[in-house]
């Protein structure tokens, strides 16, 4: 018998080895999971995110422990995945049906794919977000719909394309200028950060004129290819706001790349438009304060220059706030200041700066619940816990970020990051009409950034190319809208079936969503494109009024209206 057994083992060695390894790994995984699960736990939920910062993981650990105290049967385990592989990981998990119960949304896949994922793999949360959050009981937000308890009323989280709220955001983010207080004081003799553009430039010039112990000049602003975009977005781009009045033809408040092209083509706008000139002049003045060769440097190199006290200013967001302060601890004092916009009496920019830059108060660090989740009600409850006034305050206190919920207090240093809701926004999307003009613009703009060409040269090289190739690209832009029709209809057919399957008020809601989506995405979406084409066909119109300007006929109407009113009063 033993001999037979040995013979059998010899004959089937490979198979037995595989079976043993499989059994061993299964036991190992099960025992590891069991060891992770506290006693008494019957529900284990997993939450996936890409925030590898120590603060975030600590915060989740602590909040999960607190939630476990309230609900001993529930345990929350986090899957922290590096940013670089998050998209691949998310895709694999969702398609393989092994995704965690809650997932952070917003990184790793293009927007249209993200939208498809949200529609396919995640649960709509609209109904729950319109109900009060029970964890707000006893606060001033008790009884308010959860959505309304957010600082931005969750406006940025509404998926217009799906007519649903799909995610629960937990933090807000902001970008500001950080500065080395001690070095600033030493080099400029000033105590306070410069409040406006002129005094900021003056301080930068003073800093540049000073030399360190090795005889090297100080750098006023630590910049890189990564950081220049922030200066551009927060200081230079908003100067183009005036173009809204000339090119926002559909009057939705924004200038689209198609509208901008038509405005250029019909003579309503050009590179001689003062707000456009101002934007590039300011960018040149600011980048003159960066270290040489900044476009070739990465984010970390710029941070190092700042941390080593060779530069005074750097711009970055709340996500880097903790690590910057940490690097400077015991070495120098870090200050936070707002972007120094020109004042209305600024001799150069005063005419075009109509206000401070608007900041979209969008909440992010957003989580969605997967359709495969076995306990969606518990996942929702955990998100309610994190999205309540006390829960959100605690979560963000541990991380060092800005809470997303009204009334949740934030550390004094972060107060400088509160978004500005009243201000101007960019209106020159010249880099996104189509392939060829985008590439050409990129080339010209890069040369301008490194001071190889001036504004005049950039404009004269780009404009003829833009006007010539733009027409074809505008047509392609419109064709791309039509190319999406099959995808839209695919989604609408699913919505229609969901409405057919539902009953009562849910069915009514689903049919309304279906009709609103059909109207917005199929029926009326091409009206503006047609009108824009008509405007393009009409060609250059001299003395044409912009969409936010009064033409003589309208002024006559208003005059008659006022006269009629006055007569009535008499």
């Amino acid at each position: 018998m033993i001999r037979d057994l040995i013979k059998f083992v010899r004959g089937n060695g490979a198979l037995i080895f595989v079976a043993v390894v499989y059994l061993w790994s299964a036991v190992a995984i099960l025992s590891y999971r069991k060891a992770q699960t506290p006693p008494g736990v019957t529900i284990e939920l997993r939450i996936g995110h890409w925030q590898l910062e120590a603060g975030v993981r600590d915060a989740f650990e602590k909040m999960a422990a607190e939630y476990h105290t309230l609900h001993p049967e529930v345990s929350i385990v986090q899957d922290a995945i590096p940013e670089g592989s998050y998209g691949t990981w998310m895709t694999a998990q969702l398609m393989g049906g092994t995704a965690p119960d809650m997932m952070e949304i917003g990184l790793g896949v293009p927007y249209n794919i993200q939208l498809a994922y949200l529609s396919r793999y995640f649960l709509p949360l609209t109904t729950y977000l319109n109900q009060p959050n029970p964890y707000n009981r006893g606060t001033n937000l008790e009884g308010d719909p959860w959505r309304k308890t957010y600082k931005d009323a969750m406006r940025g989280n509404y998926q217009q394309e799906l007519k649903e709220y799909m995610t629960v955001p937990l933090s807000q983010f902001g970008i500001r200028i950080f500065y080395n207080r001690d070095l600033f004081r030493k080099l400029t003799g000033l105590e306070k950060a410069p409040p406006d553009y002129r005094s900021f430039l003056e301080a930068c010039r003073t800093i540049r004129s000073r030399k360190d112990e090795r005889g090297l000049p100080y750098t006023p602003i630590s910049g890189s290819g990564y950081h220049v975009g922030m200066w551009d977005a927060f200081m230079c781009n908003p100067l183009t706001y005036g173009a809204v009045r000339r090119a926002d033809f559909n009057r939705d408040g924004n200038v689209g790349c198609d509208e901008l092209f038509v405005a250029f083509k019909t003579g309503l706008l050009g590179f001689d438009f003062p707000p456009f000139q101002a934007k590039f002049r300011m960018l040149r003045e600011l980048t003159d304060q960066f270290q040489p060769g900044f476009t070739g440097l990465g984010r970390d190199e710029a941070v190092m220059l700042f941390a080593q006290q060779h530069a005074v200013f750097i711009t970055t967001g709340t996500w880097d706030f903790g690590s910057l302060v940490e690097q400077a601890r015991g070495v120098f004092d870090v200050g936070v200041m707002d972007f120094p916009m020109p004042t209305p009496d600024d001799p150069e920019f005063g005419r075009v700066v109509e206000g401070p830059a608007f900041e979209r108060p969008q909440s992010s660090f957003s989580f969605a619940i997967t359709r495969k989740c076995k306990h969606p009600e518990v996942a929702l409850d955990f998100l309610r816990f994190l999205g309540s006034q006390p829960g959100n305050q605690e979560l963000n206190r541990i991380i060092g970020w800005i809470p997303a919920i009204q009334g949740a207090t934030l550390p004094p240093m972060l107060r400088a990051f509160e978004p500005r809701l009243d201000g101007i926004w960019p209106a020159m999307p010249i880099d996104s009409l189509g392939g060829e003009t985008t590439v050409k613009w990129g080339q010209m703009y890069s040369l301008f950034q490194v001071d190889q060409i001036d504004y005049k040269k950039m404009a004269s090289e780009f404009l003829p190319f833009y006007l010539e190739h733009g027409v074809q690209e505008l047509n392609e832009f419109n064709r791309n809208t039509h190319r999406g029709t099959a995808g839209v209809e695919q989604m609408l057919a699913g919505k229609q079936e969901r409405a057919r399957e539902a009953s009562g008020v849910e069915a009514l809601s689903e049919w309304i969503k279906y009709r609103q989506l059909t109207a917005g995405q199929l029926l009326v979406r091409n009206l503006d494109a047609g009108l824009l084409q008509k405007r393009l066909q009409n060609g250059v119109v001299t003395n044409a009024t912009g969409p936010y300007e009064f033409n003589p006929e309208l002024i006559a109407r208003v005059r008659n209206h006022l006269h009629a009113q006055e007569k009535e009063l008499q």
Binding site: V505, K513, T518, L523
Partner: protein, 296 residues
Amino acid sequence: MTHSVKRTWLTMMVALLLVAVAAGCRRAATDDPAHRLVSGWNRYCMGDFDFAVRNFNEALVRVPTNCLLRQRLLHGLATTLDLRRPGEDPVRAEQLYREAITIAPTNDLSAWCWLALARMKNLPVSGELADLDQQVRAYQEVVDRFPFHPAGEEAFLSQQAARIEKPDEARTREVLTALETFIRMHPQSPWLSTAYSLVGGCCAILGLPEKRLEAALLELKTEEMDPLNTEPDMSGIYWKIATLAEFETGDFALAREYYRKVMVDFPTDQRVFLAKQEIAHMDDMESRIRQEGGER
């Protein structure tokens, strides 16, 4: 190999067979065609089109001909083959839609099948729109068959939207008349707000500012309210009314009212700053006109 080892192997095989049989029994429970229909649509919504097709096909062989469940399964399969990308099969999809219609030619689902058939013919190819006459004819077939059904109403509005996609004054006038007739004849239609939106589009093409503003106000008035989302974002339509009143009709009082609605109801909206500027802009214009009048 001795008998005892052979017996052990045999026992293991029998156990495996029993497990397989048990799994098969469990599977039998999910063979219910109604369950397969739901499962098929769930797979469709998740983009698992092969599984959706399998679910619909496997259920179809289990249902009798001419039953309503069969019609729903045919519609599900047709939709999947029509709209899946890649792997679409429009020829087979059309056959299936038509087969679904023959089961109950006048019922609700048949109306939607007819609309799907019309949409199939109008799908842009390589971004180019289908021929307008073809689009109009395809939608007209649905309108003629189901003039007061939501699918027929959707077909009518799709038809009119296609006709004004490339602005042409004469055609736009016809569309405007057709839409006004629709609004008169379908006062309870859930599509009223969309119809007014299209009327506004026609007025924009034809240069009828007063009528365009009126259409925008009626678009807002007839907007359907989702009972599960009671506070929708109306900033877009408020903004549209305010700017039309200010720049198209010169009705500054109405413009101020709607700019203020944006400012009060949506204080975090980007356009609040511009709304404040426009209110000041109108104040300034009025005071200049008054000043002119006084000087005279």
